[in-house]
Symmetry: none
Subunit: 249 residues, 2 copies
DNA sequence: CATGGTGGCGACGAATGCGTTAAGAACCTT
DNA sequence: AAGGTTCTTAACGCATTCGTCGCCACCATG
Protein backbone atom coordinates (compact mmCIF):
# COMPACT_ATOMS: atom_id res chain seq x y z
CA UNK A 1 0.00 0.00 0.00
CA UNK A 2 2.79 2.40 0.77
CA UNK A 3 5.12 2.65 -2.10
CA UNK A 4 8.57 2.82 -0.73
CA UNK A 5 11.49 4.41 -2.39
CA UNK A 6 11.46 7.84 -3.94
CA UNK A 7 9.89 10.94 -2.49
CA UNK A 8 6.26 10.72 -1.45
CA UNK A 9 3.73 11.58 -4.09
CA UNK A 10 2.10 14.95 -3.71
CA UNK A 11 -1.66 14.81 -3.49
CA UNK A 12 -4.00 17.77 -3.57
CA UNK A 13 -7.47 17.48 -2.08
CA UNK A 14 -9.95 20.07 -3.29
CA UNK A 15 -12.99 19.80 -1.06
CA UNK A 16 -14.98 22.41 0.79
CA UNK A 17 -16.70 20.16 3.33
CA UNK A 18 -14.31 19.72 6.24
CA UNK A 19 -16.26 16.77 7.60
CA UNK A 20 -15.33 14.88 4.48
CA UNK A 21 -11.92 16.36 3.86
CA UNK A 22 -10.40 15.88 7.29
CA UNK A 23 -10.60 12.10 7.54
CA UNK A 24 -9.67 11.86 3.90
CA UNK A 25 -6.58 13.90 4.49
CA UNK A 26 -5.30 11.86 7.38
CA UNK A 27 -6.18 8.64 5.69
CA UNK A 28 -4.29 9.56 2.56
CA UNK A 29 -1.37 10.72 4.62
CA UNK A 30 -1.33 7.36 6.32
CA UNK A 31 -1.23 5.76 2.94
CA UNK A 32 2.02 7.56 2.27
CA UNK A 33 1.02 10.62 0.30
CA UNK A 34 2.09 14.18 0.95
CA UNK A 35 -1.32 15.75 1.22
CA UNK A 36 -2.28 19.36 0.77
CA UNK A 37 -5.84 20.49 1.09
CA UNK A 38 -7.72 23.47 -0.23
CA UNK A 39 -11.40 24.35 -0.01
CA UNK A 40 -12.04 26.39 -3.13
CA UNK A 41 -11.44 26.29 -6.83
CA UNK A 42 -9.42 29.44 -6.70
CA UNK A 43 -7.14 27.99 -4.08
CA UNK A 44 -6.77 24.82 -6.12
CA UNK A 45 -5.51 26.79 -9.06
CA UNK A 46 -3.11 28.64 -6.81
CA UNK A 47 -1.77 25.55 -5.10
CA UNK A 48 1.61 23.95 -5.63
CA UNK A 49 2.09 21.36 -8.27
CA UNK A 50 0.79 17.94 -7.30
CA UNK A 51 1.00 14.47 -8.75
CA UNK A 52 -2.55 13.55 -7.99
CA UNK A 53 -5.50 15.90 -7.62
CA UNK A 54 -8.70 14.84 -5.95
CA UNK A 55 -11.33 17.31 -7.06
CA UNK A 56 -14.81 17.67 -5.65
CA UNK A 57 -16.99 19.11 -8.35
CA UNK A 58 -19.40 20.80 -5.96
CA UNK A 59 -17.30 23.78 -5.01
CA UNK A 60 -18.56 27.05 -3.61
CA UNK A 61 -16.79 29.48 -5.90
CA UNK A 62 -15.99 28.31 -9.40
CA UNK A 63 -17.87 25.52 -11.11
CA UNK A 64 -16.06 22.26 -11.00
CA UNK A 65 -15.77 21.73 -14.68
CA UNK A 66 -13.92 24.96 -15.27
CA UNK A 67 -11.54 24.20 -12.45
CA UNK A 68 -10.90 20.80 -13.91
CA UNK A 69 -10.23 22.17 -17.36
CA UNK A 70 -7.90 24.81 -16.01
CA UNK A 71 -6.02 22.34 -13.85
CA UNK A 72 -5.54 20.10 -16.83
CA UNK A 73 -4.27 23.00 -18.88
CA UNK A 74 -1.58 23.70 -16.32
CA UNK A 75 -0.50 20.27 -15.27
CA UNK A 76 -0.34 16.70 -16.29
CA UNK A 77 -1.30 15.50 -12.85
CA UNK A 78 -3.76 12.72 -12.41
CA UNK A 79 -7.11 14.31 -11.81
CA UNK A 80 -9.78 12.30 -10.08
CA UNK A 81 -13.10 14.02 -9.72
CA UNK A 82 -15.60 13.33 -6.98
CA UNK A 83 -19.23 13.55 -8.00
CA UNK A 84 -22.61 13.12 -6.44
CA UNK A 85 -24.51 9.98 -7.11
CA UNK A 86 -26.83 11.14 -9.80
CA UNK A 87 -24.73 13.60 -11.69
CA UNK A 88 -23.71 11.54 -14.62
CA UNK A 89 -23.72 14.45 -17.04
CA UNK A 90 -21.35 16.45 -14.89
CA UNK A 91 -19.07 13.49 -14.50
CA UNK A 92 -18.86 12.85 -18.20
CA UNK A 93 -18.16 16.45 -19.02
CA UNK A 94 -15.44 16.55 -16.38
CA UNK A 95 -13.84 13.57 -18.04
CA UNK A 96 -14.20 15.36 -21.33
CA UNK A 97 -12.24 18.34 -20.11
CA UNK A 98 -9.38 16.30 -18.82
CA UNK A 99 -10.16 14.38 -15.68
CA UNK A 100 -8.62 10.94 -15.60
CA UNK A 101 -11.11 9.16 -13.45
CA UNK A 102 -13.96 9.66 -11.04
CA UNK A 103 -15.40 8.30 -7.85
CA UNK A 104 -19.02 8.55 -6.90
CA UNK A 105 -20.17 9.74 -3.49
CA UNK A 106 -20.53 8.10 -1.15
CA UNK A 107 -17.35 6.28 -1.91
CA UNK A 108 -15.37 3.92 0.22
CA UNK A 109 -11.93 4.97 1.25
CA UNK A 110 -10.47 1.70 0.10
CA UNK A 111 -12.00 2.20 -3.28
CA UNK A 112 -10.50 5.64 -3.51
CA UNK A 113 -7.05 4.33 -2.74
CA UNK A 114 -7.51 1.64 -5.33
CA UNK A 115 -8.49 4.17 -7.96
CA UNK A 116 -5.52 6.36 -7.18
CA UNK A 117 -3.21 3.41 -7.41
CA UNK A 118 -4.77 2.17 -10.60
CA UNK A 119 -4.21 5.52 -12.25
CA UNK A 120 -0.68 5.82 -10.96
CA UNK A 121 0.08 2.41 -12.27
CA UNK A 122 -1.23 3.33 -15.63
CA UNK A 123 0.74 6.50 -16.03
CA UNK A 124 3.91 5.03 -14.65
CA UNK A 125 3.68 2.22 -17.09
CA UNK A 126 4.12 4.84 -19.70
CA UNK A 127 0.86 4.02 -21.32
CA UNK A 128 -0.28 7.50 -20.45
CA UNK A 129 -3.97 7.80 -20.82
CA UNK A 130 -4.30 4.68 -22.88
CA UNK A 131 -5.64 1.41 -21.72
CA UNK A 132 -4.54 -1.41 -23.98
CA UNK A 133 -5.75 -4.95 -23.97
CA UNK A 134 -4.66 -6.87 -26.99
CA UNK A 135 -6.65 -5.59 -29.91
CA UNK A 136 -8.44 -3.09 -27.79
CA UNK A 137 -7.22 0.43 -27.13
CA UNK A 138 -9.08 2.84 -24.92
CA UNK A 139 -8.06 6.46 -24.75
CA UNK A 140 -9.37 7.52 -21.40
CA UNK A 141 -8.82 11.19 -22.10
CA UNK A 142 -10.84 11.41 -25.23
CA UNK A 143 -12.98 8.37 -24.48
CA UNK A 144 -12.14 6.95 -27.87
CA UNK A 145 -12.10 3.24 -28.35
CA UNK A 146 -10.52 1.26 -31.16
CA UNK A 147 -10.53 -2.43 -31.89
CA UNK A 148 -7.80 -3.67 -34.18
CA UNK A 149 -7.32 -0.13 -35.35
CA UNK A 150 -10.94 0.44 -36.20
CA UNK A 151 -12.68 3.11 -34.20
CA UNK A 152 -15.91 2.26 -32.45
CA UNK A 153 -18.28 4.76 -31.02
CA UNK A 154 -19.81 3.84 -27.69
CA UNK A 155 -22.47 5.30 -25.49
CA UNK A 156 -21.63 6.47 -22.00
CA UNK A 157 -22.73 3.29 -20.27
CA UNK A 158 -21.07 1.05 -22.79
CA UNK A 159 -17.85 2.92 -22.33
CA UNK A 160 -17.97 2.79 -18.55
CA UNK A 161 -18.70 -0.88 -18.67
CA UNK A 162 -15.81 -1.54 -21.00
CA UNK A 163 -13.36 0.50 -18.96
CA UNK A 164 -14.41 -1.31 -15.85
CA UNK A 165 -13.56 -4.63 -17.43
CA UNK A 166 -10.41 -3.31 -19.05
CA UNK A 167 -8.93 -2.08 -15.81
CA UNK A 168 -8.00 -5.60 -14.92
CA UNK A 169 -8.10 -7.79 -18.00
CA UNK A 170 -8.70 -11.41 -17.27
CA UNK A 171 -10.24 -10.77 -13.93
CA UNK A 172 -13.76 -12.01 -13.52
CA UNK A 173 -16.22 -9.40 -12.33
CA UNK A 174 -19.58 -10.26 -10.90
CA UNK A 175 -22.61 -8.44 -12.20
CA UNK A 176 -22.90 -6.69 -8.89
CA UNK A 177 -19.34 -5.42 -9.02
CA UNK A 178 -19.76 -4.08 -12.52
CA UNK A 179 -23.01 -2.37 -11.68
CA UNK A 180 -21.46 -0.79 -8.62
CA UNK A 181 -18.62 0.60 -10.64
CA UNK A 182 -20.23 1.60 -13.90
CA UNK A 183 -23.71 2.38 -12.68
CA UNK A 184 -24.16 3.36 -9.10
CA UNK A 185 -22.13 2.78 -5.97
CA UNK A 186 -24.78 0.71 -4.26
CA UNK A 187 -26.90 -0.64 -7.04
CA UNK A 188 -29.83 -2.61 -5.87
CA UNK A 189 -32.17 -4.22 -8.27
CA UNK A 190 -32.31 -6.17 -11.46
CA UNK A 191 -29.12 -6.84 -13.33
CA UNK A 192 -30.68 -7.50 -16.67
CA UNK A 193 -29.82 -4.14 -18.08
CA UNK A 194 -26.21 -5.12 -17.83
CA UNK A 195 -26.74 -8.07 -20.14
CA UNK A 196 -28.34 -5.84 -22.68
CA UNK A 197 -25.40 -3.48 -22.61
CA UNK A 198 -22.93 -6.31 -22.84
CA UNK A 199 -24.77 -7.51 -25.90
CA UNK A 200 -24.60 -4.06 -27.44
CA UNK A 201 -20.91 -3.81 -26.66
CA UNK A 202 -20.13 -7.15 -28.20
CA UNK A 203 -21.98 -6.18 -31.31
CA UNK A 204 -20.16 -2.89 -31.63
CA UNK A 205 -16.74 -4.27 -30.86
CA UNK A 206 -17.34 -6.87 -33.53
CA UNK A 207 -15.06 -9.33 -31.76
CA UNK A 208 -17.44 -11.48 -29.80
CA UNK A 209 -14.81 -13.31 -27.83
CA UNK A 210 -13.39 -10.13 -26.37
CA UNK A 211 -15.94 -10.02 -23.60
CA UNK A 212 -16.34 -13.45 -22.15
CA UNK A 213 -19.17 -14.76 -20.06
CA UNK A 214 -18.32 -16.78 -17.01
CA UNK A 215 -21.44 -18.77 -16.48
CA UNK A 216 -23.08 -18.20 -13.14
CA UNK A 217 -20.56 -15.58 -12.15
CA UNK A 218 -20.14 -12.61 -14.42
CA UNK A 219 -17.94 -11.29 -17.19
CA UNK A 220 -14.34 -10.72 -17.98
CA UNK A 221 -12.22 -9.27 -20.74
CA UNK A 222 -10.16 -11.77 -22.66
CA UNK A 223 -6.55 -10.73 -22.13
CA UNK A 224 -5.09 -13.22 -24.56
CA UNK A 225 -6.64 -11.90 -27.69
CA UNK A 226 -3.66 -10.55 -29.54
CA UNK A 227 -4.83 -10.91 -33.08
CA UNK A 228 -7.94 -10.95 -35.05
CA UNK A 229 -8.91 -14.49 -35.65
CA UNK A 230 -11.47 -15.24 -38.23
CA UNK A 231 -13.48 -16.54 -35.40
CA UNK A 232 -16.87 -16.25 -36.86
CA UNK A 233 -18.12 -18.20 -33.92
CA UNK A 234 -20.45 -16.59 -31.50
CA UNK A 235 -20.58 -16.38 -27.80
CA UNK A 236 -18.26 -17.11 -25.05
CA UNK A 237 -14.85 -18.53 -24.53
CA UNK A 238 -13.35 -19.91 -21.36
CA UNK A 239 -14.98 -21.89 -18.68
CA UNK A 240 -17.09 -23.60 -21.12
CA UNK A 241 -19.71 -25.87 -19.78
CA UNK A 242 -18.84 -29.37 -18.82
CA UNK A 243 -15.73 -29.04 -20.86
CA UNK A 244 -13.99 -32.12 -19.68
CA UNK A 245 -11.77 -32.19 -22.68
CA UNK A 246 -9.66 -29.61 -20.92
CA UNK A 247 -8.19 -32.58 -19.13
CA UNK A 248 -6.26 -33.59 -22.14
CA UNK A 249 -3.81 -31.08 -23.34
CA UNK B 1 -7.60 -16.56 2.26
CA UNK B 2 -4.02 -17.48 2.04
CA UNK B 3 -2.47 -14.57 0.30
CA UNK B 4 0.47 -16.12 -1.40
CA UNK B 5 2.13 -17.11 1.81
CA UNK B 6 1.79 -13.71 3.36
CA UNK B 7 0.81 -13.27 6.98
CA UNK B 8 -2.86 -13.68 7.82
CA UNK B 9 -4.93 -10.55 7.55
CA UNK B 10 -5.72 -8.87 10.82
CA UNK B 11 -9.40 -8.39 11.48
CA UNK B 12 -10.93 -6.34 14.25
CA UNK B 13 -14.48 -7.04 15.38
CA UNK B 14 -16.15 -4.19 17.26
CA UNK B 15 -19.34 -5.59 18.76
CA UNK B 16 -20.78 -5.41 22.26
CA UNK B 17 -23.19 -8.33 22.05
CA UNK B 18 -21.23 -11.46 22.86
CA UNK B 19 -23.94 -13.71 21.49
CA UNK B 20 -23.23 -12.23 18.08
CA UNK B 21 -19.53 -11.67 18.42
CA UNK B 22 -18.48 -15.11 19.63
CA UNK B 23 -19.58 -17.21 16.68
CA UNK B 24 -18.44 -14.46 14.35
CA UNK B 25 -15.04 -14.56 15.89
CA UNK B 26 -14.54 -18.29 15.54
CA UNK B 27 -15.97 -18.32 12.06
CA UNK B 28 -13.66 -15.59 10.87
CA UNK B 29 -10.72 -17.26 12.53
CA UNK B 30 -11.59 -20.42 10.73
CA UNK B 31 -11.64 -18.47 7.51
CA UNK B 32 -8.03 -17.61 8.10
CA UNK B 33 -8.12 -14.18 9.67
CA UNK B 34 -6.27 -13.13 12.77
CA UNK B 35 -9.22 -11.90 14.74
CA UNK B 36 -9.25 -9.49 17.63
CA UNK B 37 -12.46 -8.49 19.32
CA UNK B 38 -13.43 -5.49 21.36
CA UNK B 39 -16.78 -4.49 22.81
CA UNK B 40 -16.62 -0.71 22.94
CA UNK B 41 -15.76 2.19 20.74
CA UNK B 42 -13.04 3.29 23.10
CA UNK B 43 -11.42 -0.11 22.95
CA UNK B 44 -11.68 -0.11 19.18
CA UNK B 45 -9.74 3.11 19.00
CA UNK B 46 -7.15 1.69 21.34
CA UNK B 47 -6.76 -1.59 19.49
CA UNK B 48 -3.84 -2.62 17.35
CA UNK B 49 -3.79 -1.82 13.68
CA UNK B 50 -5.95 -4.10 11.59
CA UNK B 51 -6.45 -4.68 7.90
CA UNK B 52 -10.19 -5.07 8.14
CA UNK B 53 -12.48 -3.59 10.76
CA UNK B 54 -15.98 -4.87 11.32
CA UNK B 55 -17.82 -2.15 13.19
CA UNK B 56 -21.20 -2.44 14.81
CA UNK B 57 -22.74 1.02 14.90
CA UNK B 58 -24.83 0.39 18.00
CA UNK B 59 -22.16 0.64 20.63
CA UNK B 60 -22.72 1.37 24.30
CA UNK B 61 -20.21 4.15 24.77
CA UNK B 62 -19.43 6.34 21.79
CA UNK B 63 -21.79 6.73 18.86
CA UNK B 64 -20.87 4.59 15.92
CA UNK B 65 -20.38 7.34 13.43
CA UNK B 66 -17.77 9.11 15.51
CA UNK B 67 -15.91 5.88 16.04
CA UNK B 68 -15.98 5.25 12.33
CA UNK B 69 -14.69 8.70 11.49
CA UNK B 70 -11.96 8.43 14.05
CA UNK B 71 -10.92 4.99 12.87
CA UNK B 72 -10.71 6.28 9.35
CA UNK B 73 -8.65 9.21 10.51
CA UNK B 74 -6.14 6.85 11.97
CA UNK B 75 -6.00 4.04 9.53
CA UNK B 76 -6.59 3.07 5.97
CA UNK B 77 -8.06 -0.26 6.95
CA UNK B 78 -11.17 -1.52 5.26
CA UNK B 79 -14.08 -0.53 7.46
CA UNK B 80 -17.30 -2.46 7.18
CA UNK B 81 -20.12 -1.21 9.33
CA UNK B 82 -22.92 -3.38 10.67
CA UNK B 83 -26.30 -1.69 10.85
CA UNK B 84 -29.87 -2.56 11.69
CA UNK B 85 -32.16 -2.91 8.74
CA UNK B 86 -34.02 0.29 9.25
CA UNK B 87 -31.11 2.60 9.79
CA UNK B 88 -30.43 3.77 6.32
CA UNK B 89 -29.56 7.30 7.32
CA UNK B 90 -26.97 6.11 9.77
CA UNK B 91 -25.53 3.78 7.20
CA UNK B 92 -25.14 6.49 4.61
CA UNK B 93 -23.53 8.88 7.01
CA UNK B 94 -21.12 6.16 8.06
CA UNK B 95 -20.14 5.74 4.45
CA UNK B 96 -19.68 9.49 4.29
CA UNK B 97 -17.22 9.51 7.12
CA UNK B 98 -15.11 6.80 5.68
CA UNK B 99 -16.66 3.38 5.94
CA UNK B 100 -16.04 1.25 2.89
CA UNK B 101 -19.07 -0.94 2.99
CA UNK B 102 -21.89 -2.15 5.17
CA UNK B 103 -23.84 -5.27 5.96
CA UNK B 104 -27.36 -5.26 7.29
CA UNK B 105 -28.44 -7.25 10.34
CA UNK B 106 -29.35 -10.02 10.38
CA UNK B 107 -26.66 -11.03 7.95
CA UNK B 108 -25.47 -14.44 6.87
CA UNK B 109 -21.95 -15.43 7.63
CA UNK B 110 -21.29 -16.35 4.02
CA UNK B 111 -22.44 -12.93 2.97
CA UNK B 112 -20.12 -11.30 5.42
CA UNK B 113 -17.16 -13.27 4.16
CA UNK B 114 -18.11 -12.39 0.64
CA UNK B 115 -18.28 -8.72 1.53
CA UNK B 116 -14.91 -8.81 3.20
CA UNK B 117 -13.39 -10.60 0.29
CA UNK B 118 -15.02 -8.25 -2.18
CA UNK B 119 -13.50 -5.27 -0.46
CA UNK B 120 -10.12 -6.87 -0.19
CA UNK B 121 -10.27 -7.65 -3.84
CA UNK B 122 -11.18 -4.07 -4.60
CA UNK B 123 -8.27 -2.66 -2.74
CA UNK B 124 -5.93 -5.22 -4.15
CA UNK B 125 -4.67 -5.61 -0.65
CA UNK B 126 -6.00 -9.05 -1.00
CA UNK B 127 -4.16 -9.67 -4.23
CA UNK B 128 -3.50 -13.07 -2.91
CA UNK B 129 -4.85 -13.98 -6.24
CA UNK B 130 -3.16 -17.33 -6.11
CA UNK B 131 -4.17 -20.14 -3.86
CA UNK B 132 -1.62 -22.92 -4.14
CA UNK B 133 -1.91 -26.39 -2.73
CA UNK B 134 0.66 -28.71 -4.13
CA UNK B 135 -0.32 -29.49 -7.68
CA UNK B 136 -3.30 -27.28 -7.49
CA UNK B 137 -3.25 -23.59 -8.36
CA UNK B 138 -6.32 -21.41 -8.11
CA UNK B 139 -6.21 -17.91 -9.52
CA UNK B 140 -8.98 -16.18 -7.62
CA UNK B 141 -8.72 -13.16 -9.87
CA UNK B 142 -9.54 -14.91 -13.09
CA UNK B 143 -11.04 -17.98 -11.46
CA UNK B 144 -8.70 -20.18 -13.41
CA UNK B 145 -7.80 -23.51 -11.92
CA UNK B 146 -4.89 -25.68 -12.93
CA UNK B 147 -3.78 -29.08 -11.75
CA UNK B 148 -0.18 -29.92 -12.51
CA UNK B 149 -0.23 -27.21 -15.14
CA UNK B 150 -3.32 -28.45 -16.90
CA UNK B 151 -6.18 -26.04 -16.94
CA UNK B 152 -9.47 -27.31 -15.64
CA UNK B 153 -12.76 -25.59 -16.24
CA UNK B 154 -15.19 -25.65 -13.38
CA UNK B 155 -18.75 -24.59 -12.82
CA UNK B 156 -19.53 -21.95 -10.26
CA UNK B 157 -20.44 -24.39 -7.50
CA UNK B 158 -17.49 -26.62 -8.16
CA UNK B 159 -15.20 -23.65 -7.99
CA UNK B 160 -16.70 -22.36 -4.75
CA UNK B 161 -16.44 -25.77 -3.23
CA UNK B 162 -12.82 -26.14 -4.22
CA UNK B 163 -11.87 -22.71 -2.95
CA UNK B 164 -13.57 -23.46 0.32
CA UNK B 165 -11.44 -26.54 0.79
CA UNK B 166 -8.31 -24.87 -0.52
CA UNK B 167 -8.52 -22.00 1.92
CA UNK B 168 -7.24 -24.30 4.60
CA UNK B 169 -5.60 -27.35 3.04
CA UNK B 170 -5.52 -30.36 5.26
CA UNK B 171 -8.30 -29.14 7.44
CA UNK B 172 -11.29 -31.43 7.58
CA UNK B 173 -14.58 -29.72 6.83
CA UNK B 174 -17.90 -31.25 7.73
CA UNK B 175 -20.56 -31.36 5.07
CA UNK B 176 -22.53 -28.80 6.98
CA UNK B 177 -19.60 -26.39 7.07
CA UNK B 178 -18.95 -26.69 3.40
CA UNK B 179 -22.58 -26.24 2.49
CA UNK B 180 -22.82 -23.18 4.66
CA UNK B 181 -19.83 -21.59 3.02
CA UNK B 182 -20.12 -22.57 -0.58
CA UNK B 183 -23.90 -22.78 -0.80
CA UNK B 184 -25.87 -20.69 1.60
CA UNK B 185 -25.42 -19.62 5.16
CA UNK B 186 -28.38 -21.60 6.39
CA UNK B 187 -28.56 -24.90 4.60
CA UNK B 188 -30.71 -27.45 6.27
CA UNK B 189 -31.64 -29.82 3.48
CA UNK B 190 -29.98 -33.04 2.52
CA UNK B 191 -26.25 -33.00 2.02
CA UNK B 192 -26.25 -35.44 -0.84
CA UNK B 193 -25.84 -32.78 -3.46
CA UNK B 194 -22.44 -32.07 -2.03
CA UNK B 195 -21.30 -35.61 -2.74
CA UNK B 196 -22.36 -35.25 -6.33
CA UNK B 197 -20.35 -32.08 -6.71
CA UNK B 198 -17.35 -33.61 -5.03
CA UNK B 199 -17.58 -36.44 -7.52
CA UNK B 200 -17.68 -34.00 -10.42
CA UNK B 201 -14.70 -32.14 -9.01
CA UNK B 202 -12.66 -35.27 -8.57
CA UNK B 203 -13.38 -36.30 -12.12
CA UNK B 204 -12.42 -32.92 -13.53
CA UNK B 205 -9.32 -32.53 -11.46
CA UNK B 206 -8.27 -35.95 -12.67
CA UNK B 207 -6.29 -36.54 -9.49
CA UNK B 208 -8.65 -38.49 -7.27
CA UNK B 209 -6.52 -38.31 -4.18
CA UNK B 210 -6.60 -34.52 -4.13
CA UNK B 211 -9.93 -34.40 -2.36
CA UNK B 212 -9.95 -36.90 0.44
CA UNK B 213 -12.95 -38.32 2.22
CA UNK B 214 -12.81 -38.52 5.98
CA UNK B 215 -15.29 -41.22 6.73
CA UNK B 216 -18.13 -40.10 8.93
CA UNK B 217 -16.87 -36.54 9.09
CA UNK B 218 -16.43 -34.75 5.81
CA UNK B 219 -13.81 -33.81 3.26
CA UNK B 220 -10.42 -32.23 3.11
CA UNK B 221 -7.89 -31.22 0.54
CA UNK B 222 -4.73 -33.28 0.54
CA UNK B 223 -1.95 -30.79 1.25
CA UNK B 224 0.88 -33.26 0.78
CA UNK B 225 0.36 -33.95 -2.87
CA UNK B 226 3.39 -32.27 -4.29
CA UNK B 227 3.84 -34.26 -7.43
CA UNK B 228 2.00 -36.39 -9.83
CA UNK B 229 2.99 -39.88 -9.00
CA UNK B 230 2.39 -42.33 -11.75
CA UNK B 231 2.24 -45.00 -9.12
CA UNK B 232 0.94 -48.14 -10.65
CA UNK B 233 -2.51 -46.73 -11.09
CA UNK B 234 -3.61 -45.96 -14.57
CA UNK B 235 -5.89 -43.20 -13.52
CA UNK B 236 -3.48 -40.32 -13.34
CA UNK B 237 -1.28 -38.47 -15.73
CA UNK B 238 -1.98 -38.65 -19.38
CA UNK B 239 -5.45 -39.39 -20.37
CA UNK B 240 -5.15 -42.96 -21.29
CA UNK B 241 -7.21 -44.45 -24.05
CA UNK B 242 -9.33 -46.55 -21.75
CA UNK B 243 -9.85 -43.76 -19.29
CA UNK B 244 -13.10 -42.42 -20.44
CA UNK B 245 -13.94 -40.94 -17.10
CA UNK B 246 -11.54 -38.10 -17.50
CA UNK B 247 -12.07 -37.70 -21.17
CA UNK B 248 -15.78 -37.57 -21.55
CA UNK B 249 -18.69 -36.51 -19.50
C1' DC C 1 -19.56 -62.44 7.41
C1' DA C 2 -23.87 -60.28 7.79
C1' DT C 3 -25.90 -55.82 8.44
C1' DG C 4 -26.89 -51.10 8.75
C1' DG C 5 -25.00 -46.82 7.90
C1' DT C 6 -22.20 -43.99 4.74
C1' DG C 7 -20.18 -42.50 0.45
C1' DG C 8 -19.63 -42.57 -4.94
C1' DC C 9 -21.59 -41.52 -9.06
C1' DG C 10 -24.71 -41.97 -13.40
C1' DA C 11 -29.09 -40.13 -14.95
C1' DC C 12 -32.88 -37.13 -15.43
C1' DG C 13 -36.26 -33.42 -14.57
C1' DA C 14 -36.43 -28.87 -12.60
C1' DA C 15 -34.50 -24.54 -11.98
C1' DT C 16 -31.58 -21.04 -13.18
C1' DG C 17 -28.70 -18.21 -16.18
C1' DC C 18 -27.88 -16.10 -20.59
C1' DG C 19 -28.62 -13.79 -25.23
C1' DT C 20 -31.75 -11.67 -27.95
C1' DT C 21 -35.45 -8.81 -29.52
C1' DA C 22 -38.88 -5.47 -28.87
C1' DA C 23 -41.35 -1.95 -26.61
C1' DG C 24 -41.76 1.75 -23.27
C1' DA C 25 -39.37 5.59 -20.46
C1' DA C 26 -36.09 9.09 -19.85
C1' DC C 27 -33.06 12.08 -21.78
C1' DC C 28 -30.86 15.37 -25.15
C1' DT C 29 -30.95 18.07 -29.32
C1' DT C 30 -33.13 20.89 -32.58
C1' DA D 1 -42.84 20.19 -29.11
C1' DA D 2 -41.00 16.85 -32.32
C1' DG D 3 -37.32 13.68 -33.37
C1' DG D 4 -33.55 11.44 -32.11
C1' DT D 5 -30.54 8.62 -28.68
C1' DT D 6 -29.83 5.97 -24.88
C1' DC D 7 -31.33 3.36 -20.91
C1' DT D 8 -34.45 0.12 -18.69
C1' DT D 9 -37.65 -3.49 -18.43
C1' DA D 10 -40.21 -7.38 -20.05
C1' DA D 11 -40.64 -11.57 -22.64
C1' DC D 12 -39.13 -15.66 -24.84
C1' DG D 13 -36.22 -19.57 -26.15
C1' DC D 14 -32.18 -22.00 -25.54
C1' DA D 15 -28.15 -23.80 -22.89
C1' DT D 16 -26.22 -25.07 -18.70
C1' DT D 17 -26.22 -26.30 -14.13
C1' DC D 18 -28.26 -28.07 -9.88
C1' DG D 19 -30.61 -31.12 -6.76
C1' DT D 20 -32.70 -35.44 -6.23
C1' DC D 21 -33.18 -40.30 -6.87
C1' DG D 22 -31.56 -44.82 -7.26
C1' DC D 23 -28.30 -48.29 -7.15
C1' DC D 24 -24.06 -50.19 -5.86
C1' DA D 25 -19.58 -50.23 -3.28
C1' DC D 26 -17.41 -49.52 0.91
C1' DC D 27 -16.62 -49.20 6.03
C1' DA D 28 -17.24 -50.35 10.89
C1' DT D 29 -19.36 -52.61 14.33
C1' DG D 30 -20.66 -57.24 16.60
Amino acid sequence: MDRDGGPPLRLLVVEDDTAIAAPLETGLRRAGYAVERVATGAAALAADAADVILLDLGLPDIDGQSVCAELRRRSSAIIIVVTARSDEAERVSALDVGADDYVVKPFGFAELLARIRANLRRTQLGTGSHLKVGLLVIDTRSREVTVAGREVSLTAKEYDLLVCLAEDPGRVYSRQQILERAWDAHWYGPTKTLDVHVAALRRKLAVPSLIETVYGVGFRLNPDLRELKADGAHVTGRTGPGDERAAEL
